[in-house]
Symmetry: C2
DNA sequence: CGGGATCCAATAAGATACTG
DNA sequence: CAGTATCTTATTGGATCCCG
């Protein structure tokens, strides 16, 4: 794959990097895209907080709660309190949140390939 | 855009999330993709350490050096010491590193759109 | 159960000084 | 100039406890 690179700095190139900053600020941590992809892997009925906590190895409840809250504030997931005793909470991707799936998959694919590249050294 | 979601958990879905972890561990911080895109915006001759430091607002020399070192170890950039007095160092994307450009651009585009979405609330 | 609040350890990152 | 080392501060994240 060859990507052309401008010979001179294009005027709009630098300013738009602010948008990348925004994305990285929101999504750049270890967990958020992982959570998004995890939710997308599951049928809606199974996306309980507890399930996510168990499936996402290494995440603490505190982290998961914090990350989900941020994702909710950014309209990427919805939070639904179920009428159970005791209370359970389920999460789902919004339609907007699903727009992150291709990006997450690309990164996933890249990581899969990267492991090979690095192993070769 | 509608993305189909499996009704049942696909067996290969969860394990592959390890690949996403790898990607996020390497690229998930605030700076690396930003650096990659910055380098890609510039003609090769201008990608000096000092230039990058000045252009990437908010990054410290220490951070930049550390991030570039990691990127180099992961074969995403090359590091070239110039025969100048005093010494200067230039960085360039490898062909492999260029494979990150589409991902970075997608994230950039997503961030551009996201700003609109969030402003609406 | 989900998730704050608090406290504490581990880590990351700024400032500064120093070398090839 | 491009880093590295050291010191110090800021931030993160885990552990625990509590409440609806």
């Amino acid at each position: 794959m060859h990507i052309k690179r401008p010979e001179k700095t294009s005027p709009e190139c630098i300013p738009n990097l602010l948008a990348l900053r925004d994305s990285l600020e929101l999504l750049g941590g270890k967990w958020k895209l992982l959570i998004v992809l995890h939710i997308s892997c599951r049928p809606k009925e199974l996306q309980h907080f507890k399930k996510l906590e168990k499936e996402i190895t290494g995440i603490s409840a505190k982290m998961l709660a914090k990350e989900l809250k941020t994702l909710e504030e950014n309209k990427i997931v919805t939070r639904t309190i179920q009428n159970t005793r005791p209370v359970t909470v389920t999460y789902a991707l919004t339609a907007y949140g699903e727009s992150l799936i291709p990006i997450a998959r690309d990164l996933q694919q890249w990581g899969l390939n990267h492991r090979k590249i690095i192993k070769e050294k």
